[in-house]
């Protein structure tokens, strides 16, 4: 058997307390297209970033063509023959194709070797079938062409191993075919390819072998993806079936939060396409989906941060008109954002001030334009007690709180005003078990009190435990809504991956 082009042995990487990669082994042989699968946070991108020099592994070795190497930055990775196509393209839109190709190339003379570059481009076109007009400005390239440029860039620098991170996330179906043809041609030339994805049908169609990561560890390898069952793959990705928590039956009330045919304009991230969804009082609706399939747009629309181009959103029967945060708050919606410190709380203000922010102009936080420090502090103190927020007090700097306590603060901030409906995104990301349980209890309490809760999460276990119903979003559309009894990990996983064999 040929020497592997790249061998990663025992790669371990920690970010603080988080173990992103746990003794991972991965090898790439010439001619192989290796699929690297896993949920968000499984460690796929981290692993590849280590290979490409963006991060340094804490333990483990990397061997290129049998020789151990140390890769400290992208220049060294490129020199070692490793190229990467990132999920978010790294291109300069105002420069031409040629310029984007030539930037950073070592050992060039005084002037840019345009003629030589053209020759190389012709070679690449001939060998791999990948062609682009060198003089065209990148901004005028279609998304598929931009990706082609990223691939050509790697080949141009002599890559023998090509890493692609979720390459089809930005492509329309016809472009996907073109990509696959190109990748097959590249593999046929004895290069190695690592294909990071969460889309099972694509992985099945393209890869010669699959490695699946879960929680930073290799949870399984599939030698023949085409014949493996999707259920098996999904289970390796998402884990085994979990018995749902006992949720006491609650009488469902009227619709408290509803979307009707909501579409948004194209948006950084996926836009919503004709989304209709309703959450009733006494119900927890979970929204499952791999990150980047429209969840952000949905959350932004509900939160009043994004105006849809069509469709209506209603809160307790009242239609949302202006789409401002103030309006949806007034209509009785509680919102807990995904990015706690970026969109939720202000890390440099005190905890009390952060918690008072959304209603600062109202009692008890202020009285006629004058802040009521007493009111602000008392409110915070009360919430700290009720929600058991660990901090040094209401005057603690918000940024000093741990993730779990920040989440509690965000929840407290909203729940204290008895919202009719609550939307939360990634509520327990980065939280420990105790904090997670606490948060879940709060949701169940809301449910018991007849409120509507919409939980957007990438953690299937969580959704399965909490939700009365689970909706799945894929490429901006709701592709299925399963009632708790019918929701299994594999069914949800299938919908999340775009395989619609067993849609509800």
């Amino acid at each position: 058997m040929a020497t592997p082009l790249v061998e990663m042995v025992g790669i371990t990487k920690r970010f603080g307390p988080l173990l992103a990669n746990d003794h991972v082994n991965l090898s790439i042989r010439p001619g192989e297209i290796v699929g690297l699968l896993g949920e968000n946070g499984a460690g796929k991108t981290t692993l590849m970033n280590i290979l490409f020099g963006t991060y340094a592994a804490d333990e483990g070795t990397i061997r290129v063509e049998g020789k151990a190497v140390r890769i400290h930055n992208s220049a060294e990775a490129l020199a070692a023959g490793i190229g990467m196509v990132h999920q978010h393209f790294l291109l300069a839109p105002r420069l031409t194709v040629m310029e984007n190709l030539l930037v950073g190339m070592p050992r060039q003379g005084l002037a840019l070797d345009v003629a030589g570059a053209r020759r190389k481009l012709d070679d690449i076109a001939r060998e791999f079938g990948l062609k682009l007009d060198p003089e065209q400005r990148v901004s005028s390239l279609a998304v598929g062409e931009q990706q082609r440029l990223e691939i050509i860039k790697a080949l141009f620098r002599g890559a023998r191993v090509l890493i692609l991170d979720e390459p089809t996330a930005v492509l329309a179906p016809p472009d996907v075919e073109g990509l696959f043809t190109a990748l097959r041609a590249i593999a046929a030339r004895s290069l190695g390819i690592v294909f990071i994805s969460h889309k099972l049908n694509e992985v099945r169609a393209l890869t010669s072998r699959c490695v699946i990561l879960r929680h930073g560890r290799v949870s399984g390898e599939i030698a023949d993806p085409r014949s493996a069952s999707t259920r098996d793959i999904a289970e390796l990705m998402c884990g085994h079936e979990i018995k749902p928590t006992i949720r006491p039956p609650v009488i469902k009330g009227a619709e408290l939060l509803s979307f009707s045919h909501v579409s948004t304009a194209s948006h950084p991230g996926t836009a919503l396409k004709d989304v209709s969804l309703a959450v009733r009082g006494g119900e927890i609706l979970g929204l499952a989906g791999v990150s980047g399939n429209g969840q952000k747009a949905l959350a932004d629309v509900v939160s009043g941060m994004l105006r849809p181009v069509s469709g209506t959103v209603s809160i307790d029967g009242q239609e949302v008109h202006d789409f401002t945060p103030a309006e949806v708050q007034r209509l009785g919606l509680g919102r807990v954002p995904e990015d706690r410190l970026a969109s939720g709380l202000v890390s440099s203000m005190t905890l009390a001030e952060s918690m008072a922010l959304p209603r600062i102009a109202e009692a008890p936080f202020s009285h006629r334009d004058l802040l009521s420090r007493r009111g602000i502090a008392d409110f915070a103190q009360k919430q700290i007690r009720e929600f058991d927020i660990r901090c040094s007090g209401p005057n603690a700097r918000t940024g000093t709180l741990s993730g779990g306590n920040l989440q509690k603060a965000l929840l407290a901030r909203e729940l204290a005003f008895d919202p009719k409906a609550v939307i939360v995104a990634q509520p327990t990301r980065g939280l420990d078990i105790a904090a997670t349980r606490f948060v879940h209890e709060k949701f169940l309490a809301l449910r018991a009190a007849g409120r509507a809760v919409l939980v957007i999460s990438e953690d299937l276990d969580e959704l399965m435990a909490l939700s009365d119903r689970i909706a799945v979003i894929y490429e901006g559309r709701i592709v299925g809504v399963l009632v708790a009894e019918e929701a299994t990990v594999s069914r949800i996983g299938l919908l999340m991956s775009g395989a619609f064999e067993k849609a509800a």
Partner: protein
Amino acid sequence: MVRLQLRNDVSPALNFALPLAAVAFTLVLCSSLIRIAGASVVDAYGVMLSAAFGDTYAITETLVRATPMIFTGLAVAVAFRAKFWNIGAEGQLLSGAVLSCMVGAIDMPGGIAIALMFVAGFAGGAVTALIPAVLRLKFKVDDVVSSLLLNSVVLYGVMALIEGPWKDSLSGYPISPPIQDSANFPVFIEGTRLHLGVLAAFLAAPVVWFVIARTVLGFKIRATGENPEASRFGGIDTRRVIFTTALLSGGLAGLAGVCQVGGVHYQVMAEISPGYGYSGIVIAMLARLNPLGVVPAAIFLSAVMVGADAMSRATGVPAFIGQVVQGVALISMLVALLFTQYRVQFRKVAA
């Protein structure tokens, strides 16, 4: 290898120590300039101290000199809090000076004149600051560059005024007609220049502090500057906040101009501001954007300037050392601020 890692706690002691450290570093560095000039450091700083604080007259001079800088320092501090980069305090000061001079020249009872001068000066500065604000909000123009360039435009406008319609027809000197005698700010201590504006400045600082720290508007300004995204999510109209901040900031800078016209020069000339607007930036940074801290910071800079003048007469050290102090103080403060945001880590480079 030195790495800067984001810090997430700041002890209040550090808050206090940093400007002092920056000032100390500045004085030490500038002492080398004194030595290069061939003077004794002790003598030179001694002269500086006594010229700034040595007797009643000296103290009043320091305070008079500090007054416009308290206002520009407040102006910049308020603006920077909202991350509205108002580098145009210089131009706003001039606008305030011109408008208050116009009003002050009208014949009316002194008390009313002075009150109207303050109003007019505030308005002039506020309107001038609106231009970069609108450019930023509507056209996404960088507020630093636009406010900076606007300074020159306003200056040329003022020069055109005093060399044109306002020119003193008798002497041909480019200077505006003076305000009415009744509009001259009253002086508190016989024989000094300690005028009403000084009191206004000392009153303004706590008022501005109160607005920033204790009102809803102040909260919104702080939140917008600290985290505009979270502010918007929380329902704060950040655009309106920037707009209001610009008005407030410009108005304060305008008041600096009012004080110079009403209390010191009684008319407008081209050199009415030797860079007070830019000094305001130094002061605001030294004060860490705290309105109360602006007062001691302004007094420090003023003492340096007054002292530098005296130092140059007594020891031959050029008075420009004062400007060097400003520049070094600002830069050292910027570096010092890094220590509040980042923890310096020394890591061994992997072999």
